[in-house]
Amino acid sequence: MFTSFEQFAAASMVGSEDAPPRSNGELFFQRLWEGRAFGMAIALSKKGHYEWEEFRQELIASIAEWEAENYQDDPDWDYYERWLLALEKMVLEAKLLTRQELEERTAETSAQIGG
């Protein structure tokens, strides 16, 4: 039995192939957006927009897709890029956002960030 959803979510990933990067026992985010993507995925499931296990399966599939197309130890490997792909898929599948509005907003934001 778990007293909090966060605890349940993390425990489900501990020691499995989809476990997040960590350093000295704590979650390890290299960039700001990684933490936001991590928090959003858990928050959405906590609110009941999808089952946590569904997200995990999507993440595992997204990791497997990369592994099928790239060499092991490819320096371009990026855990949170796979995480983000899984999150995007779940958000679209749950019909929380449409692909079009997400792409438009991404393009706008990208233009702001990229200059």
Partner: protein
């Protein structure tokens, strides 16, 4: 997705922009608030993690009576701490502390990592779940410890504990030399997750 972007910096901008777009749209639609996301992150960064175990160990180092209670009835001693709810209950309820001494060194392994007491020890390192590691730790603990840089004389007894759904073990490492006069909070900074698994010693104050 990534093949559309030739250069890593484009990938970088794209990922950052995609995350911002997701969050701003979800917030505008009232599906989540930014505070919900902050709260999830805060939970992992401030509430549940190896810093909790470090506090227990530091308290045990300065307070022999607390140490005795921690060894005798671990869950009840944990509940004395002002930890967030759920630490001493549900997940922590079968916790069992063992103490490293000059004559006994404890090493923790686990069969099912879903049982890993991460609210206290933090998330386990990758090698921890490796079946080879577990098998070798049970068969030849001295050799494994040597590979971690821990060399023990033959008169030091090595005990290996297998965490399970029934009992989740953690180690109170030995208090390092030269730490007299350090505060509990300072001492806690010497306690690493590995030291509470028995695959390392607590840090020495000179390493800080």
């Amino acid at each position: 997705m990534s093949e559309r972007f030739e250069y890593p910096q484009d990938r970088e901008v794209y990922s950052a922009a995609k995350v911002k777009a997701l969050e701003s749209l979800l917030v505008e639609k009232g599906i989540i608030t930014s505070e919900t996301v902050d709260k999830v992150l805060n939970y992992f960064e401030k509430e549940m993690g190896p810093f909790n175990g470090a506090k227990l160990v530091a308290k045990a180092w300065v307070d022999p009576e607390f140490k005795a209670r921690l060894l005798e009835d671990t869950p009840s001693a944990i509940s004395e701490m002002n930890f967030p709810r759920g630490m001493a209950g549900a997940e922590g309820e079968n916790m069992e502390a063992v103490e490293n001494t000059p004559t006994v060194h404890n090493l923790i392994v686990c069969t099912l990592c879903s049982c890993y007491p991460w609210p206290i020890l933090g998330l386990p390192p990758y090698w921890y779940k490796d079946p080879t590691f577990r098998a070798r730790a049970i068969r030849e603990p001295r050799k494994i410890l040597q590979e971690f840089g821990l060399i023990f004389n033959d008169d030091v007894e090595i005990r290996v504990w297998d965490s399970s759904a029934q009992i989740r073990w953690f180690v109170i490492p030995e208090r390092p030399a030269g730490t007299e006069g350090m505060s509990e909070a300072q001492l806690a900074t010497l306690v690493t997750p590995e030291s509470m698994m028995g695959s390392a010693k607590a840090k020495s104050p000179s390493s800080l």
